[in-house]
C-alpha cells in the first residue's frame, strides 16, 4: 500500500477517525454496564419495575 508523499496525512485521518469511533462505542458500552449495575443494585434492594405485580398476590393474601 503506497500512498505517496502524503501517506502520513492519510494514515492520521483514518487512525484518528477509528479512535473517535472506538471511543464512542466504548462510551456507550460502559454507560450500558453502569446502568445495568445500577438496575441490579436497585432490584437487590427491592426496587424494580415488577415490584407492584409481585406485591399484589402477597397483599391480597394478607387481606
Amino acid at each position: 500500500m503506497d500512498f505517496g508523499p502524503y501517506a502520513s496525512f492519510i494514515y492520521a485521518a483514518y487512525g484518528i477517525s477509528a479512535l473517535i469511533i472506538i471511543a464512542l462505542i466504548a462510551w456507550i458500552r460502559i454507560d450500558r454496564k453502569t446502568l445495568e449495575d445500577s438496575l441490579k443494585q436497585l432490584a437487590a434492594h427491592g426496587h424494580s419495575r415488577k415490584i407492584k405485580s409481585a406485591r399484589t398476590p402477597a397483599s391480597s393474601e394478607t387481606k
Partner: protein, 255 residues
C-alpha cells in the same frame, strides 16, 4: 401497528433488540467492503492524488453530522408538538454521535486541507459553520447534563435544537452563497454526480456503512437513555418510600 404504538419504551426496547444484530452485521459488512474498495481498489484522483482516500471518511462524516442534526430537529418537533415519549430520548441519544461525526469531519478535512490547500484551517463559510455545528452539539450535551429533570431538559434542548437548525442550510449552501475554499456540491446535484463511478462507488458504500453505524449507535444510546430514566424513576421511588419512614422515626424520637 400505528406509529404511536412504538412510543411505548418497552415495545421500542424489544423491537430495537431484535433489529440491532442485523443492523450491526450489515454495518460490519458495508465497512469491510467500503474500506477495501477505498484503500485498495479506488484509483488516484488526477488532481488530489492519493489524498482522495481521505474523502472516503471525510465526506460521509460531513453528511452524517448534518443528518444527525436533522434527526435531532425532527425529534425536537416530536417533543414540542406531538409530545412523543421517545422523541427527546432520540434527540439526547443522537447528540454525542453527531458531535463525534462532526469532529471526524473537521479533523479529516484539516488533514486533507494541509497538503491540498496548504493550510489546516481557514475561516471560510463551510468550515466555520461546521465548527458552529460542533459547538451546538456540545452546548446541547451540556444543557442535558446540567438539568436534573429529563422532561424539562428535553423541552429546553428541543427549542435550542430547532433554533440551531438554522445552521443546516447555511452549511449546505455556504459554498454557493459565499466564495469559499470548498468546491460546490459534486454528488447531490440536480444534474447528477460529477464524480467518476470508480471514485463514487466506494464513497457511496462508505456513506452507507457510516449511516448504518449511526443507526446502530443511536439505537444503543436510546436503549441506554431509557434505562437511565428507569434508574432515575426507581431511585426517586426508593427515596420517597424511605422518606416517610425516616420522618416517622424522627417524630418518634422527638416525642
Amino acid at each position: 401497528m400505528a406509529l404511536l404504538d412504538y412510543a411505548n419504551p418497552t415495545r421500542f426496547l424489544r423491537l430495537s433488540q431484535r433489529i440491532l444484530p442485523w443492523l450491526t452485521g450489515a454495518c460490519v459488512i458495508a465497512f469491510a467492503v467500503g474500506l477495501y474498495m477505498s484503500l485498495f481498489v479506488a484509483p488516484e484522483d488526477y488532481q488530489q492524488g492519493q489524498t482522495v482516500k481521505i474523502m472516503y471518511i471525510h465526506v460521509p462524516a460531513a453528511w452524517l453530522c448534518m443528518m444527525t442534526y436533522s434527526i435531532m430537529a425532527l425529534s425536537s418537533l416530536g417533543t414540542l408538538v406531538w409530545k412523543h415519549p421517545l422523541a427527546d430520548v432520540s434527540a439526547k441519544a443522537a447528540a454525542p454521535i453527531g458531535a463525534a461525526f462532526t469532529l471526524i469531519a473537521l479533523i479529516t478535512g484539516s488533514l486533507w486541507g494541509r497538503p491540498m490547500w496548504g493550510t489546516y484551517w481557514e475561516w471560510d463559510a463551510r468550515m466555520t459553520s461546521v465548527l458552529v455545528l460542533l459547538l451546538m452539539y456540545l452546548g446541547l450535551i451540556a444543557l442535558w447534563r446540567t438539568m436534573e429533570d429529563p422532561i424539562k431538559a428535553g423541552k429546553a434542548a428541543a427549542i435550542l435544537t430547532l433554533v440551531g437548525a438554522l445552521n443546516l442550510p447555511i452549511i449546505k449552501f455556504s459554498v454557493d452563497w459565499w466564495y469559499t475554499l470548498h468546491q460546490p456540491a459534486s454528488v447531490m446535484r440536480m444534474d447528477g454526480p460529477t464524480i467518476h463511478p470508480a471514485l463514487l462507488t466506494p464513497l457511496l458504500i462508505m456513506a452507507l456503512a457510516s449511516t448504518l453505524l449511526f443507526f446502530v449507535l443511536h439505537l444503543q444510546a436510546m436503549q441506554n437513555e431509557i434505562m437511565r430514566r428507569r434508574v432515575r424513576a426507581l431511585r426517586l421511588r426508593a427515596a420517597s418510600s424511605t422518606r416517610p419512614a425516616r420522618m416517622t422515626a424522627t417524630s418518634t424520637a422527638a416525642e
